[in-house]
Symmetry: D4
Subunit: 253 residues, 8 copies
């Protein structure tokens, strides 16, 4: 509630145009409303062009169907992350308009394409072919946010010439999401090559000493390349949302 609106309300009370009950109802919801408004504004800002997001893991197909249907009725776009193929099939029986992206394991219901963001594409890089699922989760989340992605897959450090072949493309990116399992070395190399924001995503790819992704995670956090930041293991969605926070928004239409 802006000062202007508050003053106007009080003037109406002063002039007797608004009775006390109505004024109190309006004011009583203030304590959290302004905060709410702030939140909502921010949420609006944060979510501008962002579909509602449902975390699909650990929810039944039935539960997901209910949520998606409800949001559909409310006119919201929806992104269901970590959605297994069999559950997606069940959900799509009732919500056929939900589009399923099997590699990214994302279900998407988006009425019209998001407005394109005014920036260069984001480089989404991954070290090995087994990291592609996480990379696609990042790419598709970016797509749903109106942000373009340049896929640079299978450019791990053990065959580092594959990375160098694409340095020029990399240099043009507005940000880089760098995904790696195993020893998680790729972000350190990329962080030394480019000046843009680099968000590192460890993956659970590997066995034994990979420790389910903890080794890559710890390696990325300990990177000798300054200014890297890191998200949770396999969290391609989170990396895309971090990019969403740092790129300029589309100007209001």
């Amino acid at each position: 509630m802006s000062p202007e609106r508050l003053r106007e309300l009080l003037e109406r009370v002063q002039r007797g145009e608004t009775d006390l009950g109505q004024a109190m109802a309006e004011l009583r919801s203030l304590p959290f409303r302004d905060l709410g408004a702030a939140n909502v504004d921010h949420h609006r800002a944060l979510r501008q062009g962002v579909p509602e997001v449902v975390f699909g893991e650990g929810k039944s197909a039935e539960q997901i169907t209910l949520i998606v249907a409800e949001m559909d009725r409310a006119g919201h776009d929806v992104l269901v992350t970590r959605l297994a193929a069999d559950k997606a099939a069940e959900v799509r029986e009732h919500c056929p308009e939900l589009c399923y992206l099997p590699v990214a394991r994302i279900g998407r219901l988006q009425r019209k394409p998001p407005r394109a963001r005014p920036c260069a594409p984001v480089a989404v890089m991954c070290a090995g072919t087994s990291d592609v699922g996480v990379a696609e989760e990042a790419c598709e989340t970016l797509a749903a946010l109106g942000i373009g992605a340049t896929r640079m897959f299978d450019v791990g450090v053990a065959g580092i010439h594959r990375l160098f072949d694409r340095v020029h493309e990399l240099e043009r990116a507005s940000a880089a999401i760098v995904i790696a399992g195993m020893e998680g070395a790729l972000p350190s190399v990329v962080g030394g090559l480019v000046a843009c924001p680099v968000i590192a995503v460890p993956t659970s790819v590997g066995y034994g000493t990979a420790l389910g992704g903890l080794t890559a995670l710890m390696a990325m956090l300990t990177s000798c390349a300054a200014g890297l930041t890191v998200v949770n293991i396999d969290n391609g969605f989170g990396a895309a949302m971090a990019v969403h926070r740092l790129l300029p928004r589309a100007p209001a239409a």
Copy 2:
């Protein structure tokens, strides 16, 4: 080496203006030179207005003095991070122009102030008074990069009204560096309140189950607020460098 310069070189060879030995010397260093150039360019981009950084921990006062003196001679600005007070005193005996910031544990030798970056200040928040050292490391690094900081200290979640008193300031920030030890809950709350980039820094503050900062680190990586990113424990410098990567650069003078 740009295509233009390469063409020009070959034309000079073709026209006989450049002898083969000279051309070969120029070309032989190509394999890594262009890459180096790219790197250097990037480094230049990345380091535009950034002093050289020396990690002071585990180096003797003597070693640090040598490095600082050498960089001083070369005309580089220097930032020595994690520099203990007693070492700083020793270094300053030989390099009195090195300014020491005891809370941030930073030594700084900067001939002229950095060019101010064209953006709103960064909110540097910390949960408790014991996190102030890390927060100051972030603030002073930002300062050395020409980026302003709004200090919001002691706004931890156990007295959450202190945070809410400063929400409006927070909303104006171009990015937030959120520093917390103990259970590391502050970034989750901040991430839900604002839309800007939020970089979380766990600290080693606490005892027992704080596990030297690992608990805060893991909590931040697992945050339910989407799009947070995280750096190493106590790494205020790294958080500032991540901000440096994502904020717009000062236009070339």
Copy 3:
């Protein structure tokens, strides 16, 4: 004290050779003599209105059926915790009076409702919808103990206005059970808002750095809000039992 010595003592009493005071002194110092009684009394006190509890995990449907049937014959009420739906169905074929609560994963056989405890309801709060199973385990255990619960679900810190909307309700609670997975930040915020006992329950919700609930557990134990206490991961039952210990008992009928 050997049977012989005891018999001899009693014979002396019988023959009037030992007076009662002396005999009692001798018997009273029998080590731990009263302890059993004390224990039994306490067990009675502790279990006043508490059904017998069977930990269902790792037991076969057959074993559970036997235990429930035996307790039923003995007239005891029974609570079977962590009881999977398929096992519950099997048990109910033989013990149809066992009522099954699928979300709480509790089987309950209670002949008459427990006597209501003389206190305000307990706030049972959880951060996300995935924590509801643990929250319901707490609520249903409380119900079986005659303690009312106010459910406040999905009030996690990333959308903290949802929590603040319910602060007044929270203030009226006689205790709060605060359940959260992921980074486990909710109990710290709640602990700073209210003065009543707060029992934190970490859940195994999350992936990667959630470490199966260890991250939330460690975060809660390290909380900067003073006077929180914590129970095992996913242990909604244990939290309810802790509340049972601290609330006043129903007066003897």
Copy 4:
């Protein structure tokens, strides 16, 4: 702001007794004020008779002196926890009225004794003589809160008759704080003996597999005795604060 006060304010506006500027000033601060008030009320409730608490570890004697002096000026009572003997001596040079308890490592500045709480003493038990420091931290914190403590030290499970000798005392306690290092078994035994609230405190006593207290912590959380709750390693202060939350308050004078 209660509805009554809000109505009264609006009536004054309606009657022209309050001008708009004044009304707006009063209302503008609403968003966080009511929350703040709630907090403050709660804080007041929570802190009724509770001195301000300063965490002494990691602060210099100089910093502690400043804080204590400032609180002294403001008329607040102060408790400095985890205060090393040498720092305490330094602080006491400037604040001689700060009383130092070396075993509990607590500095206390309390003008008049706290009002006694209307409840039986709390049993503060510890397994071995090395746990006495943590036990004293709990006892002295309770004392500062007006809560009596019955010390039962050195009653560990390897000589369990020592515990049983004191069962009757234990039965009369309004709550039990059970402190143990090493394998941390004592709370399980106590939890099976008494019906009152039991708060377990692991300590860092031991070597090798004691893992700095983590073994005792994990053992306590996994206890087979229902309804135990646990606080951080060595956190005698936290256990006392948890007791403070669950015991009845002294009636307003």
Copy 5:
């Protein structure tokens, strides 16, 4: 000793140039000469009355069948540990004389009962009903070694009177195998009650902070009762073998 030297030595013996004492001295010091014999002797001593042991986990029914059949042909008794019920059924189709003990998960092929060992029975204690499988593995291994066992199940510390009811039996035992999951507190209590050897076995019973048995393991190793020893998680077989090492052997027939 090279063949040449050996031949030369024997030739000297043959020619009478070296007397037998000298030759034996030379040969006796052949490195490790007696070792093999010693090993065999020891193995014989160690295995006196001990069936061959096959670790069943991770072997297919087919592989187990082959091994059992081969040992059967060679006249050896066999114990197959950690043998799942379905595999046992498959093995028994070909080796019907293999007797299967489902709770202990042991397959046993023993032609005649082992000779009884000249000692009192071993107390095999476990804290909860979920530990019974491990306890039975210990009991059945003891039985196959000719050692009697007194089963004391479900005597955990949270209801410590159940343990005390059986103290007299416990006192008569020649050794105690004490099995516990969860917090693993039982061995500490037993170790303080009796003077005989106490071997502690942690089990993987429990969830969350039980950490798959690591909590019980660490607690047992850190026990404050002196002279306890510990074996691997769930290793009832190993505990029985440790008892086998320490009890007197049956005299040669």
Copy 6:
């Protein structure tokens, strides 16, 4: 059983209203009746010839002096374990009769030598020279218990011929305490060579992946040699006490 009920029972006996059999039945079931005595007996059995043991680590020289002096007055023998040399010197200023063993870090006050135990010496083996302190702690504890020890030091598996040179001695031992840091492999080899009880002691010797002794500990617990048992890291005292439990006692004089 309350005093009232006990008095009433005795009165009935006195009046001849209750016969002895019935009275005894009632009294015999007094829970834990004999337990105290049993405990004391056992403690006596367990401690026959065992000095009182004081854990010296974490206690001040002043505290140790007090305890030792008190025990000295009471006529008890004393063993102070983990006693640093400087503390020992301080204690010996007041208790000059305390003998200090610097390698074992044991202080011993024993008026007359313990009675020799009727058994062959115990083999105390260690893998490297850095394990000697722990080995001496075991040897000196054994000595204080009247048990002889054969020292076999520096027989680690990387030079396994050193071990084999002493196999015959090893075969004659009544038990083996096998001490090793680093990878902790020695107990597995010894356990395969001899049939006697083998108690493994991991040490904190090593760096990096030695993990302060956890690697050796885990390796020993996972040993493929059946029937090994393990004690805490560096716990030479505990291993000796375990041997004390399993060897025959000296016959009563």
Copy 7:
């Protein structure tokens, strides 16, 4: 690009025999080409006689079929590691020429046998029968590289005479791959017996404290035998590749 070829190119430019566009195309790919060439050379050296390797775990049968078919078309030999039997069956429906080795879990498509390497066989040793799968992965990888292997299985340290029976064979090996699960002690013993390169492979065999192979891994890294090196848990392939790096190559045909 060798200096000779560069000079020749420039001479052609100088002489006008090569136009600028063609020269530039040739030179423009220099920056990474020379490096690539180096890599390729090395890769050629490294891979001389080495089939392409596909990591089969976490890939679908369909994906593996595509890759194998493509490589087959390109004339490359292929090794698919960690290939489950059921997937192998599916792949072989489309690529019947892929030979499947079930114990090694390797699929191999190799047109002609590799050229034999000029060196003695490699000793591939494993401690127990459960380690055979990893051992076979090593042996079959060696075979595909033209390197012979001497299998020494089931020679673990708990029955160390089995190892000593084969010492002479071991002494003739050009390198030793030593595979062990459980406590991982075998490499330390072997490392002390032979002078050749010893590569230790921990396996995930065991339960409880085996920690999925981490215990064996840490034990091997902490080995007291100097000069051992270690690879990832269960990584028989990696050990064979390490041997491949250190053995002499077959001379060019």
Copy 8:
């Protein structure tokens, strides 16, 4: 073989009842007969030109002096690793011929230079200046073994052009020891560039998530570059010894 049987065999030889071939066959199979010799031979082979090695950490200057003096008298060369500067000074007071290398923290007493090994130098690479101590430990150990080293320091992946500048040198190395702390990424890159043996050494350089070197260790073990092997954290000596095992020996003089 018992003495009786041995005597009987020799008597049969003496009496001519057993021919030599049969006697030899019987004796040759004496278990482990030749083993000792074999061991000694091997040790000789393994240690050809290798000084005796003393692990200096955790030994007093006095102990080291004794060992060095004794070896000196026996004519052995000595290498003392992990020798702190102050201890070295003390030792050198009594053994002035011991040369101390402070960066490598090695004390060396070598009468004449070792014979040079017939192979190209080993590349000893490290990622940062803080790793130089470990690198020098490797270089000086190599030197003592007669193996040359090419130092390539400060070539970490965050400035990867520094590595590429030295690729040609690297390609000529007979083996590479690659040392890195922090995220430990360098060995992966090097392993992809060269075909020679690559031994990775993690260092304890870093803070927070570096976890004292565990992060680098785990990263190296999980490396995506095939055929890398790894040694313990900070173990430059071990890496040099591994190289010693794999390089050809100097021909016998």
